[in-house]
């Protein structure tokens, strides 16, 4: 165990910090859940790519730096520290990208990874369906084989920013009559094809955060199949596991939020109120604990241990912590918390967004089931 950074790691951090300080927009960009904001965030991704910071953990050949997870965490720390824009390409870089590297063909890697790193193609995830939310295996959207094409018909929902994205990825039922986890295939689909309708869905704050995607006999080549036909569930779970486990919400996001909360406490709270001081300290400790836990996890991954159902513990921990951080901020803000514009907008927006945390990427109820069933080996209930 050595919790000091190496000189090389320090140098990497310094390089990242210098670049970010030189390049991060002085003014925060408008929300990437708006058309204008999305375009500006895509530009920012181009800039990141030019500096080779858009996918640091990827191999150099695909536009990354071949950085290991420790370096990735260091970069994330610097990224959040710098107040850089949100990652509009996150579904690609952190979710689809690693999956393509794991199961993709050489052609797919060359075709999709560089364009993903460069944000020439921005990807939307298309997992859920109106009747397949917590019960993802209830997926009904079909892809039938016709010559060299898949012909897709069905409907997906909760696709983040699909209104402005270029491609989407998801799993579709390719075996007629198959049930649950079987007979599903992971397919990559351009969103500009005939037969595709994208219906924006306004989220809690009124912005168009996600969308419904309707597929009406949409033709995509079989070459867009990721992984084996009929094995889509496994491919998706590998991706989701990695997402829940590490990449979806890196610790820096919360350590920075906790720092901002402490700053808010210093400037707006009564220091004699030990109840509030205790609560702020608790979330700071949680953020720090999540950081430490993540460093331990990625060290294990570097040493060859795999991350399994433990990922569900992380997802519950960070999502509940995020809600708590924002609850406290709003408590400190008092009457200002009722206002969604103005100087404290970020906290109020953050509160609304935090409430989605226990729901997306698998509700926390589902995660608790997974922990009970796979970690504690309790008998299946559902």
């Amino acid at each position: 165990m050595d919790l000091r950074y190496t000189p090389e790691q320090d140098a990497f951090r310094a390089e990242a910090r210098a670049w970010l300080e030189a390049n991060v927009p002085a003014q925060p960009l408008p929300s990437f859940d708006t058309a204008e904001g999305f375009a500006l965030h895509r530009e920012w991704e181009h800039k990141l790519y030019d500096g080779r910071w858009s996918a640091v953990s990827w191999p150099v050949e695909y536009g990354g730096r071949g950085a290991d997870y420790i370096h990735w965490l260091i970069f994330e720390e610097e990224y959040y520290r710098s107040g850089a824009p949100g990652r509009v390409s996150q579904n690609g870089v952190f979710l689809l990208g690693p999956t393509i590297m794991e199961v993709g063909t050489p052609e797919q890697k060359n075709r999709f990874l560089p364009s993903m790193a460069a944000a020439e193609i921005v990807w939307a995830q298309a997992w859920s369906e109106p009747n397949a939310g917590s019960d993802m295996a209830a997926i009904r959207s079909k892809a039938g084989r016709d010559g060299d094409d898949w012909v897709i018909t069905g409907q997906k929902i909760w696709a983040s920013r699909a209104v402005w994205s270029d491609w989407c990825f998801g799993i579709f039922r390719t075996e007629a009559g198959s049930e649950r986890h079987r007979g599903l295939t992971f397919i990559l689909v351009p969103l500009d094809l005939p037969g595709i309708t994208v219906r924006p869905i306004a989220q809690l704050d009124g912005d168009t955060g996600f969308a419904e995607i309707f597929f009406d006999e949409v033709r995509v080549p079989l070459a867009n199949t990721l992984g084996e036909v009929g094995k889509g569930w496994g491919v998706a779970m590998a991706a989701a596991g990695f997402e829940r486990g590490v990449s979806l919400r890196s610790p820096a996001r919360f350590t920075e939020a906790a720092k901002r909360l402490i700053e808010l406490w210093r400037t707006h709270a009564d220091p004699a109120d030990t109840a509030l001081a205790d609560a702020v300290t608790d979330v700071w400790m949680q953020a720090e604990g999540y950081r430490l836990h993540t460093y331990q996890t990625v060290t294990g991954m570097i040493e060859g241990r795999t991350i399994g159902a433990e990922a569900s513990l992380n997802k519950i921990f960070w999502s509940e912590m995020d809600v708590r951080i924002h609850e406290l901020a709003l408590q400190i803000l008092g009457p200002e918390a009722e206002r969604v514009d103005g100087p404290f907008e970020r906290w109020v927006d953050g509160f609304l967004f935090s409430l989605a945390g226990p729901i997306y990427a698998g509700t926390n109820e589902i995660q608790r089931n997974i922990i009970a069933d796979r970690v504690l080996a309790l008998p299946k209930g559902v």
């Binding site: 859920s128 009747n131 939310g133 917590s134 019960d135 209830a138 929902i157 909760w158 869905i201 306004a202 989220q203 809690l204 009124g206 109120d273 109840a275 509030l276 709003l330 408590q331 008092g334 009457p335 200002e336 918390a337 009722e338 206002r339 969604v340 514009d341 103005g342 109020v348 409430l355 989605a356 226990p358 729901i359 997306y360 509700t363 926390n364 109820e365 608790r368 089931n369 559902v382």
Partner: protein
């Protein structure tokens, strides 16, 4: 010792529930958000005709001469329907205060207890009841409020005419207990909507309401709401009877109602899943009202500390 409402009090509340069920649907509430008005004149007129707005105004001043006890179930119903506009400011605070001061008890009233940076509903009010008077002729600058049915404004200038025979602390306590009741009704409405959704929404081949995780989320919320009721009714009674403990009782009620409403909002959103996070779902109208009112008229910390001051010090 008799802790219950009269048949008349119950009947009046049920009558209001029926009226609101027809004339204050979620669609109407949403319309007041979309129009940016945050208030519905037609609904307001109905509430006036029914006597809801003047319940606490003495008969001598043209009201129904009811007490806080007569009014408390009405605020619960107003909350159940998520009624937009300054109903609390007018019915629980403004008109009774104006009447007490011998002024005409009529119109739409906003309330500004110095402490707050913003005044709710000021754009539709005939005037603002301040800590010591009646303010008119002011300049308003709107800020973007989270609750479209409770718009917020910065107020500048205007003429503040002193009002005598009006107690600021009583006005605040009346607003707080009315808000507690409003939050109780609002919370019950959220839980009802979630239970309804849980009965219909199926996953894993069953209604999600059949899963213990969902059952227990809603059961815990319901417990908080149920136990916020008696303290709220008691606080109304204490105010109506000028009990020395009235302010402490009000604070206990508001603290309970704040917590209940927040838990109800969290539980119902969680039960709804993604749908609960959308603008389209009516749930958001109720949740945002809860998040606004749990801080208005004193947040939980403020009221808990008022209770602490009363009960922790050696007696």
């Amino acid at each position: 010792m008799r802790f219950s409402f009269t048949d008349d009090q119950r009947a009046f509340a049920l009558g209001l529930r029926d009226l609101l069920g027809v004339h204050c649907t979620p669609a109407l509430v949403r319309a007041t958000w979309d129009s940016g008005h945050g208030h519905d004149p037609a609904l307001w007129a109905r509430l006036g005709e029914m006597g809801v707005l003047s319940m606490m105004v003495p008969e001598s001043a043209g009201g129904l001469g009811g007490s806080e006890v007569d009014a408390i179930l009405l605020f619960e119903e107003l909350g159940r329907a998520c009624v937009p506009g300054p109903v609390i400011e007018t019915a629980a605070v403004g008109l009774p205060a104006l009447a007490a001061a011998g002024w005409p008890a009529e119109g739409i009233v906003a309330y500004w207890a110095a402490r707050e940076p913003y005044v709710a509903h000021a754009h539709v009010a005939d005037g603002i009841l301040t800590s010591d008077g009646w303010l008119t002729g002011y300049e308003l600058t709107e800020v973007h409020a989270i609750d479209g049915g409770r718009r917020l404004f910065e107020v500048a200038g205007g003429e503040n005419v002193r009002i005598d025979g009006f107690e600021l602390s009583l006005a605040f306590d009346r607003g707080a207990v009315a808000t507690a009741a409003y939050l109780v009704g609002l919370s019950e409405a959220m839980i009802a909507v979630a239970a309804d959704y849980a009965r219909q929404r199926e996953q894993f081949g069953k209604p999600i309401g059949s899963f213990q995780a969902v059952k227990h989320l809603l059961a815990d919320a319901l417990i908080k709401v149920e136990f916020a009721k008696a303290p709220t009714y008691r606080a109304a009674w204490s105010l109506a009877n000028n009990e020395p403990t009235a302010s402490c009782d009000v604070s206990m009620a508001k603290a309970f109602a704040n917590e209940a409403a927040y838990l109800a909002s969290r539980a119902t959103m969680q039960v709804h899943g993604g749908i609960g996070y959308t603008w389209e779902a009516d749930l958001q109208l109720f949740m945002k009202k809860a998040w606004a009112l749990m801080r208005a008229w004193g947040d939980t910390s403020f009221h808990r500390r008022r209770v602490s001051a009363a009960v922790l010090l050696p007696t």
